[in-house]
Amino acid sequence: MREPEKRSIPPIGDETATTLLSELAAHLRENRTLLRQEWAQRITKAKLLTAMTEQEVFTEATAVYDQYVEALETGTFEALQAYARNLSERIIPRGVETNEVVGIVLLLRDVLARSLFAKYQADFAKLNRILDAYEPAANRIANTVAVGFVQERERIIREQQEAIRELSTPVLQVRERLLILPIIGVIDPQRARQLTEQLLLGIRATRGRVVVIDLTGVAAIDSSIANHLVQTVEASRLLGATVIVTGLSPAIAQTLVNIGVDLRKMNTVGDLQGGIEEAERLLGYRVTQLSARDEGAEPRSG
């Protein structure tokens, strides 16, 4: 169940919390230039955001400062959250790390807190009230920014993984209507699913009629992946394509038998080359050997 988004800071005691926050926001705005400067200095001193230029740090610092004060005052965090994700999207490719982002927000929190101490030091009771209003808000802000950064980072990582996976599962068209899907290494359920999706899309895109799935590069698979292979063969058939499976190791053959596959009914050939030749035969190609050149093939019928 989703929690309803907290829309405002719970009032401390009475509604003067809102007044206090307005007061301290006004103070923070008045002293913006000074405080922002101090903050930027502390960022440099702590050796954070080294991946960015001074100008960039200044620009972002200005925006963060304003968002920070705005969030403090209004008690709403959507704008801050959106800004945090936007900022993260920009700085993550630059190599900025989570600890840096959390670090700078905490530094800002400290800079502003000290400024509040300085301003209200004469009135201890008032200082306490101010801090009672400030602290939960400031912590909420730090949390929002950190979480926004981490979520963005995770999103980027997922996208990169997806891109890598797509690159590493090629469906090759070697001839008209003939596709090869060579599989290498370890297949997990996610990759298996992706392979199937790409194969089916490839069949449609290239109007493939025969597919050779080559498992030479795979030592063994478990029964769920074996099931997946069978499903892939069936799904390909539904798209009008015939599947030839090649390179089955004895271990894989055994796994298939174990899940109830009748290997005689599955179109299998020992190796990839043999599979391609069988595929060409099914497609009506005749493979001829020419003495002066490499093997060529001419279609016998369309």
Binding site: E197, R204, A235, G240
Partner: protein, 116 residues
């Protein structure tokens, strides 16, 4: 919603345009079977390109259709099953058994052309 059925030579082509209710599917099945009996039909193509889902009822009805048409001496080819629909079908264990399938109308016609 009635599915348009075209006669092309000795073949019938039924192109499904949108999501079909169970009733629509049964109506289609019966219409095709009747036409095969009435006209001199040797092949029937059912184009399911526009079907978003091929669930158990649809698979069963298509299989019934193919069997009934076979009894009248004609062959059926199902064409245009979309990759994601095929993917969903096999995962749910749905099958069209031994009914011929082809990628699209063109392939379906080729298939019927080479078979008796």
């Amino acid at each position: 919603m009635a599915v348009p059925i075209l006669k092309q030579g000795e073949n019938l082509i039924a192109s499904i345009q949108s999501a079909l209710t169970d009733t629509d599917l049964v109506t289609l099945r019966d219409a095709l079977v009747d036409k095969v009996a009435a006209l001199r039909i040797r092949g029937v193509i059912v184009d399911v390109t526009a079907l978003d889902v091929l669930d158990s009822f649809a698979s069963r009805t298509l299989r019934d259709l193919a069997h009934m048409i076979r009894l009248r001496g004609a062959r059926t080819v199902i064409v245009g099953i979309q990759p994601e629909v095929a993917f969903a079908m096999v995962q749910l264990g749905l099958t069209l058994e031994d009914i011929p399938t082809a990628l699209d109308l063109e392939e379906g016609l080729k298939f019927l052309g080479t078979r008796r």
